[in-house]
């Protein structure tokens, strides 16, 4: 049976100076194509990031609409309703409202 050290030496020899592999003749053409498009590649957005961004935006819009609706519900008190009508407070601008909840 082969000694363990001999086996290791044999394994290490297996990678010694492998044969030269021929380069793909189209590699240069592909590199040139890459040169032309490398600028655009950097601007590409990964599908996962795009999905995450859309999901985040949907969540913000949903939260905004929910809060806007809950606040713009007509109040039960007729006096409050009268004030709202008198001062034209019935429409609340959502983006403004989003930052000023009081």
């Amino acid at each position: 049976m082969m000694n363990k050290q001999q086996r290791i030496e044999e394994m290490l020899k297996s990678i010694k100076t492998p044969e030269q592999v021929e380069i793909d003749p189209y590699l240069v053409t592909r590199a040139e194509a890459k040169l032309g498009t490398s600028g655009n590649d950097k601007n590409k957005l990964s599908p996962r990031w795009a999905f995450l961004m859309v999901l985040g935006m949907l969540m913000i819009i949903t939260a905004n609409i929910t809060v806007w609706k809950s606040v713009s519900q007509p109040k039960g008190d007729p006096a409050v309703q009268q004030i709202i009508l008198d001062y034209g407070l019935s429409s609340i601008d959502p983006p403004f409202f989003f930052f000023h909840t009081n």
């Binding site: 394994m11 290490l12 297996s14």
Partner: protein
């Protein structure tokens, strides 16, 4: 530049041990060279400079693969890269099984030891040439190779 393509490609292939990855990295090396031809300052031979770029790219590639496996950014970086299989057409068929084991063990070496080992054992370069490419002294190359061999033997002893 075309005269260096074959050499750079084979060095990269020896480093990453995968034909597809080697083609991609070789392309990247030449794209970088074409984009920044002024980066060559004439301090070393063109081949040494190209070797240096190629080695750095390979180390980044191998390190990046390790990082991507565990990072959150890796999750969002698009399709995760699978661990590439050993695919080196230059290794004789009868040696492929052993070479795959050695390459797996080599991945556990420190990057400098790894690079020195590939340049010495697979590229058959002299210590002086390796020291110029890696920008270290000849005695450092000797030390790196001594430690690489010792560590590889230790790892392989556990493997077999």
């Amino acid at each position: 530049m075309s005269e260096h393509q074959h050499r750079v490609f084979n060095t990269v292939l020896n480093m990453v041990q995968n034909l597809h990855d080697a083609e991609e990295i070789t392309q990247d090396v030449f794209v970088d060279v074409y984009k920044q031809p002024d980066a060559y300052r004439g301090e070393a031979a063109v081949s040494t400079w190209l070797y240096r770029i190629a080695m750095n790219k390979c180390i980044d590639h191998l390190r990046g693969r390790q990082r991507r496996k565990w990072s959150i950014a890796g999750f969002f970086a698009g399709k995760p890269r699978e661990e590439r299989e050993f695919n080196h057409p230059g290794v004789a068929a009868e040696n492929r099984e052993n070479a795959a084991i050695v390459f797996k063990a080599m991945k556990q070496l420190q990057s400098k030891q790894y690079a020195a080992w590939v340049l010495s054992e697979m590229e058959d370069l002299s210590y002086k040439e390796i020291s110029e490419i890696m920008n270290v002294s000849v005695s450092s190359v000797e030390s790196l190779l001594f430690r690489a061999r010792k560590n590889l033997k230790k790892i392989l002893e556990k493997e077999i």
